[in-house]
């Protein structure tokens, strides 16, 4: 059970300013169903250019709803210049704090606000800036860098708490650590190795090529052989043939040689599974 403050509970059970604004001056949408939380923020300005109305619709947990509700309260009466200065920390503080693991809810509020202001100013919707680091939650290096800098984060776990990056498969942990190191000035910014993004078709072709050119010849030397059965996502299913099929060390061959080679030459996410009959 989460330790929510009374203020979080209050804003969750009695959320302020739920709804949509027709003809809103600014609208900001962030998050997605897949990610588990999403927020659409609306605001309308009065003739003094102050926010006279702010509303939200949120799909998410108690702290996501409370953060959205708190944000709308904080916005009303502010000019856009004042609103722009609101940080995710401010939203969390307004609620008397959020559990560490829930800080991303306040970041979502801040992101929606930025989008809504950008939308009002008419600057074309900014494209996703930077390069996606966390594929599971679609988080870019720029977002991670910003969260690390603004909230003085020092560990991968904290980055996950604030922007979710690294909370899924975990494949991006190394990259996140690099970003933290860079921000903390521990290291020079590493020349980022651009691992090519492959389409499924390219990936399968490359796997086939690698098997034919690299792996098969090596196994053939020992009287073994390998057959590609299927590729599903990052799982490569193969069948071992010849002496490999009966070799007691075949599992070692599979992991230490076949998988390692495929990871090296195709993409590091691959897993090799043996199909036996």
């Amino acid at each position: 059970m989460w330790e929510y403050t009374d203020k979080v509970k209050d804003h969750f059970l009695n959320p302020r300013n739920v709804g949509e604004i027709e003809n809103a001056d600014g609208v900001g949408e962030v998050g997605s169903l897949a990610c588990g939380d999403a927020l659409t923020l609306y605001f309308k300005l009065d003739d003094q250019q102050r926010i006279k109305e702010a509303k939200f619709k949120t799909f998410g947990c108690a702290s996501a709803i409370a953060s959205s509700s708190a944000l709308t309260e904080m916005l009303i009466g502010k000019t856009l210049e004042e609103a722009e200065t609101i940080t995710n920390e401010n939203i969390a503080d307004y609620l008397g704090g959020l559990p560490r693991e829930k800080m991303h809810c306040s970041v979502m509020g801040r992101d929606a606000l930025e989008k809504a202001i950008t939308c009002y100013r008419g600057s074309a919707e900014k494209k996703i800036e930077g390069e996606i680091v966390c594929e599971c939650f679609g988080v870019t290096d720029i977002q991670i860098e910003r969260a690390v800098r603004e909230n003085h984060l020092t560990t991968i776990e904290q980055v996950t708490d604030y922007v979710k990056a690294g909370g899924g498969c975990g494949n991006c942990h190394e990259k996140i650590q690099e970003i933290i190191n860079t921000v903390l000035g521990k290291e020079e910014a590493p020349a980022r190795k651009k691992s090519p993004v492959l389409t499924n078709l390219q990936k399968i072709k490359l796997i086939e090529q690698t098997l034919e050119r690299e792996i098969k010849p090596a196994l053939n030397k020992d009287g073994g052989d390998i057959e590609l059965i299927d590729v599903s996502g990052n799982v490569v299913q193969v069948r071992l043939r010849g002496t490999c099929a009966t070799c007691k060390k075949s599992q070692i061959t599979l992991k230490n040689y076949v998988e390692a080679k495929l990871r090296e030459l195709v993409t590091p996410e691959l897993m090799v599974e043996e199909v036996t009959l």
């Binding site: 969750f12 949408e29 990610c35 599992q251 036996t276």
Partner: protein, 391 residues
């Protein structure tokens, strides 16, 4: 406020009968069963009586029961015993929907040189038996498949699995933590080599579990120490809790019919009514092969933690497959393995009943939950009315 407790797959109320049986073993019969004196020895005899009661519940012999501290210890003991007694074999086969006690152990072992196959399930949570059969090898040291799933209640075809494995002479372990006490179990019917159970899921206290080890199964202890449990588990016995587990075994055996009739019909009523009253509510899992007490319902376009906390305001206790409640960011691995779409997985609530639940409690949930879902949907940017469309 009295809780409306619908979270019995998480833990159960210790039956008053069980507490009563346990109490004398704290202050009166506090002897160590290993002692030479009669004072301690008497306690040892009581432990064996409890062992016999638990064995009866499973169709086992008393000497096939090893008491442990919990379900997780039983699971770890079983897997590690199988691996240690078959040092040449490096393959483990299990399912994608196991409890973390098995799943995380197998993932750990996968990093230390073992090869692990996770057998997939279909959309209803049913095990892919062909995949299982085709992935057994001469290198397979152990197969571990749960009897019943903790999140959906779906029951795996344990008899069929045992049949396939015994033909190949592969050790079969089943995590039956959710099944024992809820559905009849007879380990003699088939070749089940090891079976894990946990006391607090069947009205005994937390901190006591057991592992059934079929006579003749090669075994190696997990906790190495004294001669307790015939050298199969070192450490002074948790006497009162063992007595409690024995008493609870009688208790659930006596209520087995009730569990599968009255409790089942309460569950069915709750599920049917909720699905009737709430649009876009879907039952997860194979309703034909399911524990009598469990219902997993997905309420689309809302998030589970929010539902739980709003139900909490009425004292309704349940649990969710959503990410937010667990502190992880992804919804339950069980629902994901079943391919439940994100729209539904995040809003999944599990109700799990026990013999202590009553009809008026069901009526109260059926009254309180629909407005909660409606309220959260009104707040959700994805909800566009009951037509089922989302942006």
């Amino acid at each position: 406020m009295n809780p409306l407790y619908f979270d019995n797959n998480a833990t159960t109320r210790v039956a008053p009968e069980v507490v009563e049986a346990m109490l004398p073993y704290f202050t009166e019969y506090y002897g160590n069963p290993s002692s030479m004196h009669t004072f301690g020895g008497t306690v040892g005899r009581q432990i064996n009586e409890a062992r016999a009661k638990l064995a009866d519940l499973l169709g086992a012999s008393p000497e096939e029961i090893v008491f442990t501290s919990c379900g997780t210890e039983s699971d770890s003991t079983a897997i590690m015993a199988a691996l240690r007694s078959n040092p040449d074999k490096k393959h483990i086969i299990t399912s994608r929907v196991e409890h973390p006690a098995i799943k995380n152990l197998c993932e750990y072992l996968a990093k230390t040189g073992y090869r692990v196959t996770f057998v997939p399930v279909d959309a209803k949570g049913r095990l892919d038996m062909d995949y299982l059969t085709h992935n057994l090898t001469d290198d397979t040291a152990i197969a571990s498949f749960m009897w019943a799933n903790n999140e959906t209640g779906v029951i795996f075809p344990v008899d069929e699995i045992a049949g396939i494995l015994s033909e190949r002479d592969i050790i079969f372990h089943t995590d039956a933590v959710q099944a024992v006490g809820k559905v009849p179990i007879d380990v003699k019917k088939n070749r089940i080599d090891m079976l894990s159970l946990s006391g607090h899921k069947l009205h005994a206290p937390k901190g006591i579990g057991a592992l059934y080890v079929r006579k003749g199964t090669k075994f190696s202890p997990f906790l190495i120490g004294g001669h307790q449990e015939k050298g199969r588990r070192g450490g002074t016995e948790n006497v009162a809790s063992i007595i409690g587990l024995g008493r609870a075994s009688d208790f659930v055996a006596a209520h087995m019919t009730e569990e599968n009739t009255r409790v089942k019909s309460l569950r069915d009523k709750l599920e049917t009514r909720l699905v009737q009253k709430i649009p876009n509510a879907l039952v997860n899992g194979d309703t034909d092969n399911r524990l009598p007490n469990t219902s997993s319902i997905a309420f689309e376009f809302v998030e589970g933690e929010s539902i739980l906390l709003m139900m909490n305001e009425f004292g309704i206790c349940a649990s969710s497959g959503s990410a937010c409640t667990s502190g992880s960011l992804e919804p339950s691995h069980v629902l994901r393995a079943m391919g439940v779409p994100f729209t539904a997985a995040h809003g999944t609530i599990r109700f799990s009943l026990s013999i202590y639940n009553t009809e008026p409690e069901i009526d109260l949930i059926v009254e309180k939950l629909p407005p909660i879902i409606e309220r959260l949907r009104a707040m959700s940017p994805f909800w566009k009315g009951s037509c089922g469309c989302a942006t």
